[in-house]
């Protein structure tokens, strides 16, 4: 460690001299942008695995018993394992790393105007633990007995005893991987929160912080406050699995429903942990491409805080048929309906932002607008399921599945694409191809609806979630129902095929994309002050100072329709 301490603005000059090796630049880097890219690429790789799993089990549902191209025939046990790990991967190893860790790492220091996270080495450790957890999960697919197949919620007794789940190694490995992943995000979250609290640029007051930074910080706090009991629960479940204790075993005096409470006390806030960064991304992009000030910044902020607090009082709406007292169900129905209000406020504020703006339909903007529309569908069906009376009928059907995919796909897929198209120039100094981007957009959105609209109908028709082969159930084996399953599966294949366009576009644009300047979208926030791609230390010799809020678009009397946060007032 260098013995000298530096003050703001005095960038370390001697560091520029020695060229870092491949390992220290790409693998063991402490630079927040490199760690963000590591998280992003790991998340993208895991998304491919999760997408492949979805392809395999959807093929089984559409063409039961047939040999699946690129896989072979699927056994019931492997089906369970694929479904379980699809859910686990998409939430813990795709949505979390890409939305919170990659976006948080990349944007927070750039947007608040500092050179790195306050704890760069903790940041690196966080990624390494995360990578370890991903490796453990992947190995668990290949151990004797195969990967864990007790659903991503891991309810005991199925998850607690190898004699029930038949995965003596897969189940504990799954649990260890999830716990390590949680530890990684606790480290990252603490880093995010302290960085935003302590390392903001000179002049950046509370209401000058871009809304996405607020959202990531609130999400990190939510994660931290909700995950503690689950860590305790995971230790208890691990003891049940491996040592033979009876914490969740009814016959030994334990209580299996206790796990459900611990899991959903985390699991429901977790939905908002990934939702908030996505909403932040959409807010930033909507403003920039509507060329208008964000509508009701403070209302959005306070609604989000209210949403965060409310999210701790809704968890039992997942357990309406688990023997929860009907009086408690009534309370949880009420809180669940209440929580839709702050979410709706934020989405409607975005729609109001569009009103009277001069909208530019870039690919990023298209994805952002699609998020607002598609997420609304997911949110509205959530109100049905949150009402205990309706939920008793729809519980564990494909209606639930379609509902949460209408929330999670906009969050983890659509908003992520919006973010990649929007911040790609800052990451790599070039733009992605807009034409191919728009083709990718329409292909993704249309096929996404093609998958899940039939599943809503099937679910309302009584199709249960966890069935390997519907042909075994006469009520569910009708030709009309099977046609819808085939349609959904074909839509999934189309959706996956369109992702090839994205991947090719992504990697070709690295070399051949149009070179752009520091601020291709003419946006106001501080990350666009840094050169593209931002160098080590982000802002060079002088750190930026902040003079105004992040969304001063189309201010009257100014020649330009944007007004960067760091521009000195006298220059105008």
């Amino acid at each position: 460690m260098a013995e000298v301490t530096h003050v703001d603005g005095a960038h370390d000059a001697h560091h520029e001299h020695h060229k870092p090796s491949f390992w220290s630049k790409y693998v063991f880097s402490t630079d927040h942008k490199m760690i963000a890219l590591q998280y992003m690429f790991t998340g993208m790789a895991m998304a491919l695995i999760g997408g492949y799993f979805a392809y395999v089990f959807r093929m089984q549902l559409a063409f039961p018993g047939a040999s699946i191209p690129f896989f072979g025939t699927l056994s019931p046990a492997a089906y369970n394992s694929l479904v379980t790990n699809h859910g686990t991967i998409m939430i813990f190893w795709v949505a979390m790393p890409v939305l919170i860790a990659a976006m948080g790492n990349f944007l927070i220091p750039l947007m608040i105007g500092c050179d790195d996270m306050v704890f760069p080495r903790v940041n690196r450790l966080s990624y390494q633990i995360f990578l370890l957890s991903a490796i453990i999960l992947i190995i668990s697919f290949f151990v004797p007995g195969g990967g864990f197949g007790g659903a991503w919620t891991a309810y005991p007794p199925l998850s607690a005893k190898a004699e029930f789940n038949a995965t003596p190694f897969g189940a504990p490995m799954w649990l260890i991987a999830v716990t390590l992943e949680i530890v990684a995000f606790l480290l990252g979250g603490i880093n995010f929160i302290t960085t935003v609290m302590n390392a903001r640029a000179k002049g950046m007051r509370m209401y000058d912080i871009p809304i996405i930074v607020w959202m990531i910080v609130i999400a990190s706090i939510l994660f931290m406050c909700s995950v503690g009991p689950l860590i305790a629960g995971a230790v208890m479940l691990l003891f049940d699995q491996t040592l033979g204790t009876g914490f969740f075993d009814g016959t030994a005096g334990g209580d299996p429903v206790l796990w459900q409470h611990l899991f959903w006390f985390f699991g429901h806030p977790e939905v908002y942990v990934v939702l908030l960064p996505a909403m932040g991304i959409v807010g930033e992009i909507t403003c920039t491409f509507a060329r208008k000030k964000l509508f009701a910044y403070k209302l959005i902020l306070y609604s989000t805080i209210g949403l965060g607090i409310l999210s701790f009082f809704v968890w039992a709406h997942h357990q309406f048929i688990s023997g929860v007292d009907p009086r408690a169900a009534y309370l949880f129905t009420t809180t669940t309906l209440l929580i839709s209000i702050p979410v709706a406020i934020v989405l409607f504020a975005y729609i109001a932002t569009l009103y009277g703006g001069s909208i530019r339909f870039t690919t990023a903007m298209l994805f952002a607008l699609a998020f607002t529309g598609e997420f609304l569908l997911g949110g509205v069906t959530g109100i049905w399921l949150g009402s205990s009376g309706v939920d008793v009928y729809l519980h564990d059907t494909y209606f639930v599945l379609a509902h949460f995919h209408y929330t999670f796909v906009p969050i983890a897929i659509i908003a992520t694409f919006a973010a990649v198209y929007y911040w790609y120039p800052k990451m790599f100094g070039r733009k992605m191809n807009e034409t191919w981007g728009k083709i990718h957009f329409w292909g993704t959105i249309v096929s996404f609806n093609g998958i899940f609209i039939p599943l809503f109908i099937l679910g309302a028709g009584g199709q249960h979630r966890r069935i390997y082969n519907f042909q075994h159930y006469p009520d569910l084996a009708g030709a009309d129902m099977q046609d819808m399953r085939v349609f959904a599966t074909l839509s999934l294949i189309v959706m996956l095929a369109f992702q090839v366009i994205f991947i090719v576009n992504f990697f070709v644009s690295l070399k051949r994309g149009e070179k752009v300047g520091n601020n291709p979208w003419k946006a106001n926030t501080l990350e666009w002050v840094a050169t593209s791609p931002a160098p080590h230390g982000n802002f060079g010799a002088t750190m930026p100072e902040v003079y105004r809020g992040p969304y001063e678009f189309s201010v009257e009397g100014r020649e330009e329709d944007y007004w960067p946060q760091n521009e000195k007032p006298s220059e105008s």
């Binding site: 208890m236 914490f247 005096g253 334990g254 230390g537």
Partner: protein, 193 residues
Amino acid sequence: MAHEIIATGRSRTGIPTGRLAVWWVIGSEILIFGGLISCYLLNRFNHGPSWSVEAANTNTFIGACNTFWLLTSSLFVVFAHAASEKHDAKKTRIWIWLTILLGGFFMGFKTYEYTTEIQHGFTLFTSNFWSFYYTATGLHGFHVVCGMVIMGIIAENDIKHERNWHRVENIGLYWHFVDIIWIFLFPLMYIAK
């Protein structure tokens, strides 16, 4: 490490970054232990009489001794902090090592306690009370050991550079937290019979 990060030196809240982070760590730890203790309490309320019979077998005397060691060690870590404020490296080091020594007493008594309990047939699997007992006190013991290791590193390594002395205060905060968890566990596991 190549160079000093500007971000780490900034302090917009006025609280040093390291201390702020320790508070957030403590916050997340409270939720982990909070979850565990809540589960224990819910079970205890549901199975009152049968768990009280089991709880009667814990050794209150050793628990009390351990409470005494931990509370005293918390006092010592405060002395260490006070000495570091006075820029007295030697005294800081001595007080930290005394804190570690008392942590060692705690772990030693705990080892004896676990051994005798297991010899009397009260293992992790005897009943759910004992499962909770070993999990909660074990997790707490793990935190004690971690604290001792970190204090050892601070006393032998970080003490050399005065700019790292704020770590004495940070580990003190953590150590008080470990202490407070024990203050919850002691009545719940040893006194309530």
